[in-house]
Symmetry: none
Subunit: 216 residues, 2 copies
DNA sequence: GCTTAAATACGCCAAATGACGTATTGCGGC
DNA sequence: GCCGCAATACGTCATTTGGCGTATTTAAGC
């Protein structure tokens, strides 16, 4: 077994410490390291043959949450474990939302880190018990789930929103036309305008963007 | 250290197996066992000096979820770890809501069980990696909280799931091919097979169905 | 060793989609 | 009355997607 790992952290000493921990295990190989999210994305561009990323949260330029979103959007098969000294709810929740596959504290011992990496690659999730408890609490109190607003002030007409809603059901243009008593041509035009306003280029992206902006 | 444990399971062989696992550790002591929730509550009545309960989910008379609610309402200081052979979302979610402090599968080895018990008493939560992943998915998808467990027993291969994940990001076939180091033809074939298995006819429907069945 | 399932890969064809340009109608505001 | 915007509608063209057949290679199970 040869597991290819990337480490992302703005602190070189901590990178060194993590490498040290990984060095005990023959099946783990550090492909490269990066000092922030931007650096990571650039390096992934030219060397995407990575199984798992150990990611810090707090970093300059692009933090770990943003980087996780970006990586997961482009390389969903790459697993990501957040590895950080902080365990505040905000970071944990945002990381999970961004798609992280695990969340460990940096004080983790080599054995548990190794174990967590294997479990994550095996379709599980790696988590400190204290983190696990926080996720359970978050699940029990679904109070502030959807309200992280970063609305870009996008304005769609009411007709466009109707079309978008139909689109999100998985209907094709002809069915939408039937449902809204429109010509298929008109539906297409509406969708074209929607794409322009949202700056996207296909159904999926339009629906995702619309949802994240509470348009539908 | 003297940790007082109760085991609740309607299957005597499984109780025996759990006792066996606990017997390796001097700090763990099984105070009593019960065969269902009702039995547990009665026994707790006369002997409430228990630190932690290992609880089965599926039981006659009163199941583990109901028992957890009842115990937590009356004895909030007692920790409860669900210990079951099944790991379906419904049970996990309901157990968490009922107040469980952990969720382990019965196949867990003695060391991990011991570890999980200590961590739970120490203010953490015990969780299998596969369970942990499910809780993360539940956190990401606050929508499938109240609804159905109508898992249609759809089986996708791991490669198919990878493709589906890429698809759900809004990528087109060529980009998916690039990301997974495949020929576009292969991506198309995978997607075709996915559609057949899910009985759908386009991206959107596939993604919706996959999400509602927790495949992605 | 044989069987099966999964993963890989092509080709063909029809349908759906996305990106253009263009045009008409209706309605509210100034 | 004119302006601007939303809503309506067509045509064209290239690309993407979905459906179907076929084939080879690899991994896993018996």
């Amino acid at each position: 077994m040869n597991i290819k790992i990337a480490i992302v952290d703005d602190n070189n000493f901590l990178i060194r410490a993590i490498q040290e921990k990984l060095s005990f295990f023959d099946d783990l190989h550090v492909k490269f390291t990066a000092v922030n999210g931007k650096d990571l994305l650039e390096k992934l561009e030219s060397n995407r043959n990575v199984d798992l990323i150990l990611m810090d949260v707090e970093m300059p330029k692009m933090n770990g949450v943003q980087a996780t979103s970006a990586v997961k959007a482009k390389y969903p098969h790459i697993k990501i474990i957040m590895l950080t000294v902080f365990d505040n709810d905000e970071n944990i929740f945002n990381s999970i939302k961004a798609g992280a596959d695990g969340y460990l504290l940096k004080e983790v011992n080599p054995k548990d880190l190794h174990q967590g990496i294997l479990e994550t690659l095996n379709g599980g999730a790696a988590m400190n018990p204290s983190i696990a408890l926080k996720t359970l609490k978050l699940l029990r109190n679904p109070f502030d789930f959807g309200n992280k607003a970063q609305t870009e002030d996008i304005k769609l007409s009411s007709r466009e929103i109707e079309v978008l809603e139909q689109l999100s059901k998985g209907l094709n243009y002809n069915n939408i036309a039937d449902n809204l008593f429109l010509s298929p041509s008109t539906v297409r035009k509406h969708i074209e305008n929607i794409y322009t306003k949202l700056q996207v280029h296909n159904k999926l992206e339009a629906i995702q963007k619309a949802k994240s902006n509470n348009l539908i």
